[in-house]
């Protein structure tokens, strides 16, 4: 809003509504342009989506099912029996839900549940939240081992708490590299301390048959650790090594060390119980304690990932993927910027053709721009801009101008502004129309936010935000400005 030296203008600016817009625009500009955090060589703090910044995304589908059973059955018992019947790991999620860690048909699941003595109610493709979180952590640790890249891993969980997909987004990485990273497995090895700093090989990750989620042992003690199972060969190798190097008689001197890709990730002696046990027979089921409290819990989570050596607890298949090169992203960015400027210019021309008076046209365009700037300022913190979000931004620009037209026409009748009371009545009427149509757009867009249909979420968030900013902040201010202008 251009400043003129008349007292009328000063009064207008001092109006709370107008002042709020000016302050917000300044804050938004600061949020966009003042350097903060790590923004690379970008000129702004705006976050862009992969289609504008360059990078790859891969969406993986869990090859697993979540089964709902009827009340009355012991869920642990059912899980064990189903696991045998289906020849896979079955984990109880809660009293009524079980996670079957393989792809199965409804008939197979129904038969397994019935055979285990429970009633089959329904099933859904996907995994429970615990497994989804584990997968997320594993993928994050894999991708982060790459170093500086900007990575996002999101599980897509439906309202029932079942996650069917996990989506990995890697900025600045091409598709082939992305697929390699996600598919890559590390080399896990257990070695035993022989004398001093010397160690000897015991077994590799292929001997680890299964790994559990972190648990407390004993339950509720806040002492954390990870249980894991060795196959028979692995158990035999461990027993031989322990006996050979004397870990059964003097465990404290012969730690078991775990390595991932040659880096030590865990080291602890056998417990006294285990040392006695292992001297006489092989032990398949082991538990690696990591300590107490939050720290112990975190270490247990990390150890779980290491034990899996980057392998996911559930099989996954690539459901979709996409990549944009940095150069193409840069080009798209420029086109989007031009499209935005062209849209703003088109709006300005149309408004000018209609109203012809600078006193109306300038505030209108200024209000519209203020709306976009505030919107971008908020987006810095909550939403990355992809191409769909830019389209939403331009659409917001369109609806914004729509509603300013409604206000202008309602308030300014034949070029005259009525008395303040009548004016207020008209402004309220205009805002009522605007509120109704804003409410419909928000309602129409809302399902997209909840459903998390990848790129559409950004579109919906930008649309809704833009409308809210317009309705609550910029349009009331515009109403005030127009009144003051026309009063003169």
């Amino acid at each position: 809003m251009s400043e003129k030296k008349t007292s009328g203008w000063l009064a207008t600016i001092k109006d709370l509504r107008v002042l709020l817009v000016i302050v917000l625009v300044i804050i938004a500009l600061a949020a966009i342009f003042v350097p903060m955090g790590d923004r690379g060589d970008s000129m702004t703090n705006l976050q862009f989506g992969l289609d504008l910044d360059g990078g790859s995304w891969i969406q993986l589908e869990f090859q697993a099912e979540v089964v709902t059973i009827g009340a009355g059955a012991d869920v642990n018992d059912v899980a064990a029996k189903m696991g045998e019947a289906l020849d896979c790991t079955v984990v109880p999620i809660d009293q009524y839900h079980l996670e079957v860690q393989t792809k199965a048909t409804e008939e197979e699941l129904r038969a397994a549940v019935t055979a285990a003595g429970a009633t089959f109610i329904s099933y859904e493709n996907g995994v429970g939240t615990t497994t989804a979180e584990t997968v997320k952590r594993i993928l994050e640790s894999k991708v982060n081992s790459l170093g500086t890249n900007d990575v996002k891993v999101n599980t897509l969980t439906n309202p029932n708490g079942v996650a069917q997909y996990v989506r990995v987004e890697m900025a600045g990485v091409d598709m082939q590299t992305a697929q390699e990273i996600v598919g890559k497995q590390g080399l896990f090895e257990i070695r035993i301390v022989t004398t001093g700093n010397e160690t000897a090989h015991v077994l590799y990750g292929d001997s680890v048959a299964s790994v559990q989620n972190p648990t407390q042992n004993p339950a509720g003690s806040n002492n954390w650790g990870v249980g894991f199972n060795l196959n028979n060969d692995g158990a035999k190798a461990l027993q031989q090594a322990c006996i050979q190097y004397g870990a059964t008689t003097n465990p404290q001197a012969h730690n078991l060390n775990m390595y991932l890709d040659g880096v030590e990730v865990y080291s602890a002696p056998l417990s006294n119980d285990l040392a006695i046990q292992i001297a006489t027979h092989t032990v398949n089921s082991l538990y690696a304690g990591t300590g107490s409290g939050e720290e112990g819990h975190q270490q247990a989570q990390e150890l779980e990932i290491h034990l899996r050596a980057g392998a996911l607890p559930v099989q996954v298949e690539i459901a979709g993927s996409g990549s944009t090169s940095a150069a193409l992203g840069e080009y798209f960015k420029i086109v989007c910027l031009i499209a935005g400027i062209a849209a703003l210019a088109a709006v300005a021309v149309m408004v000018y053709l209609r109203y012809r008076v600078a006193e109306i046209v300038l505030p209108m365009i200024a209000t519209n721009m203020a709306e976009i700037i505030i919107l971008l300022g908020i987006a810095v913190f909550i939403q990355q801009l992809d191409i769909a979000a830019i389209a939403a931004l331009i659409a917001v620009l369109g609806t914004g101008i729509d509603q300013l037209v409604i206000i202008t026409d309602e308030v300014v009748h034949e070029g005259k502004v009525p008395s303040p009371t009548l004016y207020l009545k008209r402004l309220t009427r205009a805002l009522a129309i605007i509120m109704t149509s804003a409410a419909t757009v928000i309602i129409a867009m809302f399902p997209l936010i909840v459903m998390d249909l990848s790129t559409l979420k950004g579109f919906a968030i930008i649309s809704i935000l833009g409308i809210l900013i317009g309705v609550l902040i910029t349009r009331p201010a515009y109403g005030k400005i127009v009144m003051d202008i026309m009063a003169k």
Binding site: A319, A343, L456
Partner: protein
């Protein structure tokens, strides 16, 4: 700005309603036909049907690209208007085929953008998009009914919204614009847009004092400027995106442009026609109704 010489009060309301309604019927037939064939109201693109899309910028000709991709299930090549950009689509491929495809494409066109969606993921997206569309309509209807609380005007606004989306979907089928995540978003946006001008018209006619013809003309005046201004913004976006060959952007823009044009027809012909008939009837009812209290008044 010169307004077009459309006098909203001049034409017979029934005729005003008839033409848009016929367009709606034709569109509904097209959409129904597509639905029977594809399971979606508009021919689904790779987002919903599964498949692969590649965006490249190259000086190669269409024929050269076609030759390069022999052996792959190439379905179409779209050209940009002036930027040597291509948008190439492929049918479903196996995982191994896909790996090879990625490798070869990146080797030949290092700056290519490749998107692929598996058939089952596409099916998930499809059902979610349909649910989103359904919820959006229900939500819109609820808001409109709460706002107007009168059956005929509210139902008309809701119907105008449905008709707007249906006709837009029909035109998309005719023009060959596929239903993608982006165009679904645009259709949802249209639900909001289409009620915009309808709400303006209905509010002005129902909630204001004054002569019906004045209110109609006033609403049309505002509404027409309003929609054409939005249209100007979106057309600008469409032109830039078409020249620059940014598919997501021009698809969204194209759908919005079609929808806004449908919206103008439906608001200012169909809805205006219904409202005129409705108001004339209401006026007719009011006459005797207004007399009653007067009679009572003389009694007391």
């Amino acid at each position: 700005m010169e307004l077009p010489r459309y006098d909203i009060n001049k034409y017979d309301p029934k005729r005003m309603m008839l033409i848009p309604f016929l367009i709606f019927l034709v569109a509904a037939a097209i959409v129904g036909f597509t639905f029977v064939n594809t399971g979606m109201p508009v021919t689904p693109g790779i987002d919903f049907a599964g498949g692969t899309a590649v965006t490249i910028h190259t000086t190669d000709t269409k024929e050269q690209i076609q030759a390069f991709y022999t052996g792959y299930p190439l379905t179409s090549i779209d050209e940009g208007v002036g930027s040597a950009g291509y948008y190439i689509k492929f049918g479903p491929m196996s995982n191994e085929e896909m790996m090879k495809f990625n490798e070869e494409t990146i080797a030949k066109y290092p700056d290519a953008s490749i998107d692929q969606i598996g058939a089952s993921f596409g099916a998930t997206l499809q059902s979610q998009a349909l649910i989103a569309l359904l919820f959006a309509f229900i939500g819109m209807a609820v808001v409109v009914f709460i706002a107007f609380r009168k059956l005929v005007p509210a139902a008309t606004v809701v119907f105008a919204g449905i008709a707007d989306i249906t006709i837009t979907a029909g035109v998309m089928n005719v023009l060959g614009i596929e239903l993608s995540l982006a165009t679904t978003a645009a259709l949802l946006m249209l639900i909001g847009y289409s009620v915009d001008s309808n709400i303006l018209l209905t509010s002005k006619v129902l909630k204001r004092q004054g002569k019906l013809t004045d209110k109609m003309a006033g609403a049309f005046h505002t509404g027409f400027i309003m929609t054409t201004t939005t249209l100007a913004a979106i057309v600008a976006m469409l032109v830039v995106a078409l020249i620059g060959q940014v598919p997501t952007l021009y698809n969204i823009a194209a759908v919005l442009v079609i929808g806004l044009i449908c919206d103008m027809i439906f608001t200012w012909a169909f809805n205006a026609g219904v409202l005129r008939l409705y108001m004339e009837k209401e006026e007719g009812k009011k006459q005797p109704a207004n007399n009653k209290p007067k009679i009572k008044g003389t009694k007391s």
